[in-house]
């Protein structure tokens, strides 16, 4: 396999001189800036269902996206054919956004170089391994999930990996390459007891190789967790309905941050003044025990990148510091317009997509509280351990995230499991109600995918144990009927 910094030159014969020609065509009708995003992605996936290897799939997608920026305007075109004539053609199509004299790219693209840091130095990417080796891992998960409890009746294991080569070249003369591996395994279980059917789902991964799947990350440990969730739900009672104190377990429940504040801090919405957080830099948006960062540099994490999809290095960006809003999540266009620093958050799903500000790994720094003390401090409330997805209305700030495993807290003790329920809150005020932050920061297991305007990108989240004094829980059990109230 080619090393990443010369992949496109070796495979498709693309030289710095070619890049200059394409960029000149992109700026042939004016425009302030143009860039090229070359991508070559190889994927492989396996599905084991009913203990049968039902599907194995491999695929290759590749292409080049050409972007032209003219003020706040974007022209974009792409091709899945890397012949020079085709790329020149799409460059001219993207150029149509501008209308003026040609602006010659004076910078001249230098030879592309790899990023200064490598946050995912994977020696042997999973995609390059034999199918048989991956099948072994997937089958182990299937066996372990079934062995967990005889009530586990169905197990479905999905495994997927990819390697993405990118080359990003801008009319400012900068060009950079990156090699981005990504792996994920997920186990879905169904438990049945006397006609009561429940499900569980768990998994993990990251920008790692196959060697990642051992110890805490072993197929067995993921499978047991997926099976445990389904079994627990067999005893779940109706979830409560209404406002109450909520304790969030560490890790994946960090989806709270992603929905409550993360999307609302993406700079495109704020540049346009349509976010509930617009114009609030310097204001209090969380209690003073909260500090939240977006960090694309955490080694081997699913949401991490060496450079974003506009070629800028990723950072740890402080979004909220001791409760005060400090910054937005920027891409190139928004940073230019807002005269702010880029934060390395310009991301896109593929060469077919226009980049925009997106999160990487969003998490809250650890606090001082003992997690057990936090639970003990709650008289009546909900302890939410694991979540499905979430969503937010950027403009009014209302967000939801759906608990798939949760328990009642009664007199400081975690008691009965309750059915899945959606939690709803208001982004700009939800974190002002955080009254305790645990000392146990944990990041999610590496399964998150974020959707925005039709584009999906891998992301991470994390929190320590958190206590929120008031959040609306969307169950079905009216308060009066709850024994604990």
């Amino acid at each position: 396999m080619n090393s990443s910094d010369t992949f496109f030159q070796d495979t498709y014969g693309i030289t710095p001189i070619d890049l200059d020609r394409y960029l000149a065509a992109a700026l042939s009708e004016g425009g302030d800036y143009a860039d090229l995003y070359f991508e070559h992605t190889t994927t492989s996936s396996i599905v084991v269902d009913e203990s049968l290897v039902k599907t194995a799939t491999e695929g290759i997608s590749m292409g080049c996206g050409v972007r032209v920026l003219a003020g706040e305007q974007t022209g974009y075109a792409y091709t899945d054919d890397l012949e020079p004539a085709r790329i020149l053609n799409v460059a001219r199509i993207a150029a149509r956004i501008a209308s003026g004299p040609a602006r010659v790219s004076t910078a001249g693209v230098s030879s592309a170089s790899p990023p200064a840091h490598n946050f995912y130095p994977v020696v042997s990417p999973a995609t390059h391994h034999d199918l048989a080796e991956k099948l072994e891992l997937v089958k182990r998960a299937d066996v372990a999930a079934r062995a967990y409890d005889p009530r586990i009746q169905q197990v479905r294991v999905t495994y997927g990996d990819q390697v993405r080569h990118v080359l990003i070249a801008g009319s400012d003369g900068r060009s950079v390459t990156d090699f981005q591996p990504l792996v994920r395994m997920n186990i879905f279980t169904i438990a049945r007891q006397n006609g009561n059917v429940q499900s569980g789902s768990y998994g993990g991964g990251g920008r790692v190789g196959l060697e990642f799947f051992e110890g805490d990350h072993s197929p067995e440990s993921y499978a047991r967790e997926a099976a445990r969730q389904a079994i627990v739900q067999l005893d779940a009672r109706e979830a409560p309905a209404g406002e109450m104190e909520v304790v969030l377990a560490p890790g994946w429940p960090g989806i709270l941050l992603h929905e409550a504040i993360g999307h609302g801090l993406e700079a495109d919405f704020n540049r346009k003044g349509i976010s509930a957080f617009s114009g609030r830099i310097g204001q209090r948006v969380a209690s003073e025990i909260c500090t939240v960062v977006d960090d694309g540099t955490v080694p081997n994490r699913r949401g991490s990148l060496n450079v974003d999809d506009e070629g800028a290095p990723t950072h740890q960006t402080v979004l909220i510091e001791n409760g005060i809003l400090r910054g937005y999540i920027q891409d190139k266009l928004s940073a230019n317009v807002m005269k702010a620093e880029r934060t390395g958050n310009g991301r896109r799903q593929s060469y077919e997509h226009i980049p925009m500000p997106r999160m990487t790994n969003t998490y809250m720094l650890a606090g001082k509280d003992d997690p057990q003390d936090i639970i003990r401090s709650v008289k009546h409330g909900l302890y939410a351990v694991y979540f499905g997805g979430g969503q937010v209305d950027i403009t009014n700030g209302k967000f939801v995230f759906s608990a798939s495993e949760a328990y009642l807290i009664e007199d400081g003790k975690v008691t009965a499991p309750v059915k899945g329920a959606t939690l709803i809150g208001d982004g700009p005020t939800a974190l002002t109600r955080v009254t305790a932050v645990g000392n146990d920061l944990r990041l999610d297991p590496g399964i998150g995918t974020c959707g925005k305007e039709g584009q999906s990108v891998p992301v991470g989240v994390g929190i320590p144990t958190l206590k929120v004094s008031r959040l609306t829980v969307g169950g079905t059990a009216p308060r009066a009927a709850n024994s604990f109230l």
């Binding site: 994927t43 009913e50 194995a56 305007q73 899945d80 169905q154 309905a241 209404g242 959606t422 609306t472």
Partner: protein
């Protein structure tokens, strides 16, 4: 590529797979051209244009199978694809249900489905931008409280799909799509609150789109009426889902009758065939032959001709929705619901799955509610198809004595889908096909609204 070239490519790939040792194979090829323009605050924000292609190959070795996809149509790349797919198929499991449909099931619906209209591709870039500009202008003109905008977009696409298999099926068809949407933002001057909402129109022909002015006006009304929204006290009340949010409910029913969920027992409707699962007033059909429908097609992605499948009739579950694989798993016949992108084997997709309309106007439905919630937006993913448990974030209007009283936000609605299907008290007459899923407005009793 021309239709002949695409069919030649598909035939060729199948021949190569068969001569390399496959016992059966099929190929799907997609080609598409897409265009989008976004106007924001009267100015062009973005223009995007592209053409793309991709193919998917599935190979069987007896009852073992594997699949692959590629955007590289070069001879050498396709040779490698065949070879890799065969070698993968050798290590997958024997699965007695695997395989192509039976040869005698294959075919093509011969009626005119009106899936393609050349007028979509003929619109000039300027015309498309002008449509978006007019929609946004209309939103601003509709109400002085519309002070900002997320923009208006015009999207157009046209493309072809070719499917071929080693049983001799070969077919192609073209389809087109265009849509106009606008997202205005309403600002409450005195209280500083801000609300956005949207409206859109979609069609397979540009002439079938609603006027930009009516789209803009409607979007503005929807955004403005949300200003000043508040929470309500937790309660159990009747809930009216407008036709946009009711569509998500029909989507959950679709998920629950998909063959793959059924054979795994991963659906609250598994094992319920022939049983009453909904009120007698409920009939849901999956119609693959509706002219211009977004889920219509002459044949599915395994070569099964389009048809109409009754799913629920007068409350009784009559059919699951199946492709060849899930049909074999359940000892039933495929309903022609195979759907695949280019990557991976066929899944189960909706044709035009809809709930039959009732006789009630929106006013009549409102008048029947003394106190309740009229839902215009649902957010989040709190729906469990395995158990039927339902809990989602909602926004809309509070209903008092049969009239819309004030806007509501930051509440959830919760219940259980099996019970909800049996408590649909009134069905609206306002069925409109704006996607492959469609539902009229619905009044459902006994849901829990959680708020303060």
């Amino acid at each position: 590529m021309s239709e002949t070239q695409l069919e030649q490519l598909a035939r060729n790939l199948i021949q190569r797979a068969m001569s390399a040792g496959a016992t059966a194979a099929d190929v799907v090829i997609r080609e598409a051209e897409e265009f989008s323009a976004t106007i924001r605050m009267g100015k062009t924000e973005s223009l995007k244009e592209a053409a793309s292609k991709a193919l998917g190959l599935r190979i069987f070795l007896g009852t073992r199978s594997a699949s692959s996809y590629s955007q590289d149509f070069s001879r050498s790349s396709l040779d490698r694809l065949v070879e890799r797919t065969l070698s993968m198929a050798r290590v997958t499991s024997e699965d007695p249900a695997a395989g192509l449909p039976e040869a005698q099931q294959l075919g093509r619906y011969e009626g005119d489905l009106q899936l393609y209209s050349p007028d979509v591709a003929k619109l000039s870039t300027e015309e498309r931008m002008e449509w978006a500009r007019r929609a946004e202008d209309a939103a601003f003109a509709a109400d002085p409280r519309i002070r900002n905008s997320e923009g208006a977009s015009f999207e157009a696409s046209a493309g072809s799909k070719t499917y071929a298999n080693s049983l001799g099926f070969m077919g192609s068809y073209q389809s087109s799509y265009c849509g106009l949407s606008v997202v205005p933002v309403a600002v409450n001057g005195s209280q500083g609150g801000m609300q956005r909402d949207y409206w859109y129109t979609v069609a397979r022909s540009a002439t079938a789109l609603e006027s930009p002015e009516s789209v803009g006006r409607k979007a503005a009304q929807r955004a403005v009426r949300r200003l000043g929204a508040r929470k309500v006290a937790t309660c159990r009340v009747p809930v009216i889902f407008d036709s946009e949010t009711a569509r998500s409910l029909i989507g959950h029913i679709f998920e629950a009758v998909r063959g793959d969920a059924i054979y795994r027992g991963a659906s609250f409707l598994a094992g319920k065939l022939g049983q009453r699962v909904a009120g007698e007033n409920i009939t849901a059909l999956d119609d693959g032959v509706r002219p211009g429908g977004f889920g219509s097609r002459p044949f599915d992605d395994e070569g099964i001709p389009a048809s109409i499948t009754p799913v629920i009739r007068k409350g009784v579950l009559e059919n699951y929705l199946l492709n060849a694989y899930t049909a074999r798993k359940l000892n039933l016949k495929t309903t022609g619901n195979a759907a695949r992108g280019v990557a991976g084997p066929p899944a189960v997709g909706a044709k035009n799955f809809y709930l039959e309309p009732g006789q009630y106007t929106a006013e009549e439905m409102l008048r029947s509610v003394k106190a309740g919630l009229y839902v215009t937006e649902l957010i989040g993913f709190g729906v469990n198809i395995v158990t039927g448990d339902y809990s989602r974030g909602a926004a809309g209007m509070w209903i008092e004595n049969g009239e819309l009283a004030y806007p509501v936000e930051e509440v959830t609605i919760a219940g259980s889908l099996p019970e909800m299907l049996n408590h649909i008290a009134l069905i609206g007459s306002d069925l409109e096909f704006r996607s492959a899923l469609a539902s009229p407005s619905l009044l459902i009793e006994g849901l829990t609204v959680a708020g303060v």
